[in-house]
């Protein structure tokens, strides 16, 4: 068995036993970390594997959160229906946005994704009848696992749902980046002109992975709404998109697992320090700078380098 398999299995066992190890509020925090981990992982698909830096990824998390909130609150459907709706809405909106944005590369792509995200943020902010405007949608319930099925209100139940979603998304994403399609993405990241001259237009590849990343971000948002009980415009704001980039870089760009850990580190720093000081962002920024300078490749990239050496 390879080292990465052993680590993966250990992580899986750890995830399963956590509800019996952690206190109630700690389990709740871990659930939160996993949701943001999924968000950062989805961003890594386009950023780390395809070389497309999006400044508007929060929009898809937000779309997922709103769709999920509405399905749960207004239609009282089981949570998986809300997850499906969230992932679907994010993917459907990402299709035209991606179609336009992937016509540009580099900083222009980043700016287009930012512009579209801010546009979507404004819609969420202004369309009071549907989104509740600046108040957002509150009181989103954790309904059942299926019609007439067990409720998900207990922290343990919802934790397991989130953990299962994150693990499945990770496994699926790992399969994608190892597939012929995923290998093509990495070639695009490395040298787009060479890719084109070897016989394919890179744009359809970029569009597909852009939509795929949005679907996973939408799933994360769809988990967020019932877990926190609300959806609000803040989760679509560009600041959150920027934090996503930081999570990916802290954890290790182009590793999928790294960004999940990066999100955890990022949120934990915020969680711990914000109870002491309102200036916690100074420390997050400092940690970010130190990691970029001293641990290129992030936490996982550095660990792999040391592992390969030792």
């Amino acid at each position: 068995m390879t080292r990465s398999r052993v680590l993966g299995l250990a992580a899986l066992v750890a995830l399963v036993v956590m509800p019996w190890v952690l206190a109630r509020h700690q389990l709740s925090l871990l659930t939160d970390l996993l949701i943001f981990g999924l968000f950062a992982m989805s961003l890594d698909l386009i950023m780390g594997y395809t070389g497309m830096v999006s400044f508007g990824h929060a929009a898809y998390f937000g779309l997922g959160a709103y769709a999920s909130a509405l399905v749960l609150l207004d239609f009282a459907q089981p949570v998986p229906v809300a997850l499906l709706a969230g992932a679907l809405l994010a993917g459907v909106v990402a299709l035209p946005v991606g179609w336009f944005s992937t016509r540009a590369t580099g900083i222009y792509f980043a700016m287009l994704t930012l512009a579209f995200a801010q546009l979507l943020y404004t819609v969420a902010y202004k369309w009071r009848d549907v989104t509740g405007g600046s108040d957002g949608i509150a009181g989103v319930p954790k309904t059942a696992l299926f019609w007439g099925g067990p409720g998900l209100a207990s922290p343990q139940a919802f934790y397991f749902l989130v953990a299962a979603c994150v693990v499945l998304s990770l496994v699926l994403s790992l399969a994608v980046v190892g597939s012929p399609f995923g290998r093509a993405l990495q070639a695009i990241r490395e040298n787009e002109r060479r890719f084109t001259s070897l016989g394919r237009d890179p744009r359809p590849f970029k569009l597909v992975v852009f939509v795929l990343a949005a679907v996973f971000a939408g799933l994360a948002g769809a988990l967020f709404a019932p877990f926190r009980g609300f959806a609000s415009p803040e989760v679509m704001f560009w600041v959150f998109s920027g934090q996503g980039l930081m999570m990916v870089i802290i954890g290790g760009i182009g590793t999928l697992v790294g960004p999940i850990l990066g999100a955890m580190v990022f949120i934990l720093i915020q969680e711990v320090l914000s109870s002491y000081t309102e200036h916690w962002m100074i420390f997050t920024g400092a940690v970010f700078v130190l990691i970029v300078i001293f641990l290129p490749g992030g936490l996982v990239g550095t660990a792999r380098r040391l592992g390969a050496r030792g």
């Binding site: 399969a175 012929p180 399609f181 070897l198």
Partner: protein, 250 residues
């Protein structure tokens, strides 16, 4: 016999600058054609026009007798025109094998297999290894392409194009920046692979020794225009070429 590649009155202007003007040439299957000319003669522009990276402002490109002028670069590659670049163009942070494998996959298909696709990966890896073997790069297959010495990176780029099993191979200054020893080795490899795989090659080259050593026929560009064409000995004896180009080197 229908030429494999034919250009008819091909031209490209950049504003007031006519980089390539009214170039008509025909390359027969199995031929090794060199395109020479001083700096700025329009050699690389001609390559971009043939491979589809640039659209011409006049004229047509025919491949196997079909007009491919309207086709973009990826479509021309899939029809059988593979190329390399003057400045080494590889996938630096992918392995040597993966560089060649992706080249095969992109042309052969199966690119939108999002999960699985083991068959696609294995089949393309076989052809990639075969090509890397021809260029003596197989023992470095697992190394990152960026860690290869410059000469091997240039060979890798050719190996990627050859792995695609093209009908026409365009080489843009394959010996650019190489030491005399590496140049000799590269020329030997190109000659051997061309013969083994019965490739038709058009190459742009600066190094006159390389050109007269390798080419069956030579086309001479000067200020975007085709001023001469013939066998190496004919070109050597051509007065116009002497003045325009070769004389400048003596």
């Amino acid at each position: 016999m229908t030429p494999l590649l034919e250009t008819r009155g091909l031209g490209r202007a950049f504003g007031a600058l006519q980089a390539v003007a009214d170039v008509s040439l025909a390359v027969q299957p199995g031929e090794l054609r060199a395109v020479i000319g001083p700096n700025g003669a329009g050699k690389t522009t001609l390559f971009h026009l043939v491979s589809g990276l640039l659209a011409p402002t006049s004229g047509r490109v025919l491949f196997r007798g079909d007009d491919v002028t309207a086709l973009a670069a990826p479509a021309r590659c899939r029809r059988g025109i593979s190329r390399t670049f003057q400045i080494t163009s590889i996938f630096p942070e992918l392995s040597v094998l993966e560089n060649a494998r992706v080249a095969v996959q992109l042309k052969a298909g199966g690119n939108f297999r999002l999960v699985g696709g083991r068959g696609v990966l294995d089949a393309s890896a076989r052809r990639a290894r075969d090509s890397l073997g021809s260029f003596g790069l197989l023992d470095r297959a697992d190394a990152l392409a960026s860690t290869l010495p410059h000469g091997d990176q240039r060979l890798l780029e050719i190996a990627m194009a050859v792995a695609q099993e093209p009908a026409l191979l365009l080489l843009d200054e394959p010996t650019q920046g190489l030491s005399p020893e590496d140049t000799a080795a590269t020329v030997a490899v190109i000659r051997r692979v061309a013969r083994e795989r019965q490739l038709t090659i058009v190459l742009v080259e600066h190094d006159m020794d390389v050109v007269f050593d390798l080419a069956d026929r030579i086309s001479v560009l000067h200020f975007g225009e085709l001023i001469a064409e013939g066998t190496p000995s004919e070109i050597r004896a051509n007065a116009a070429v002497q003045t325009a180009y070769l004389g400048g080197l003596d």
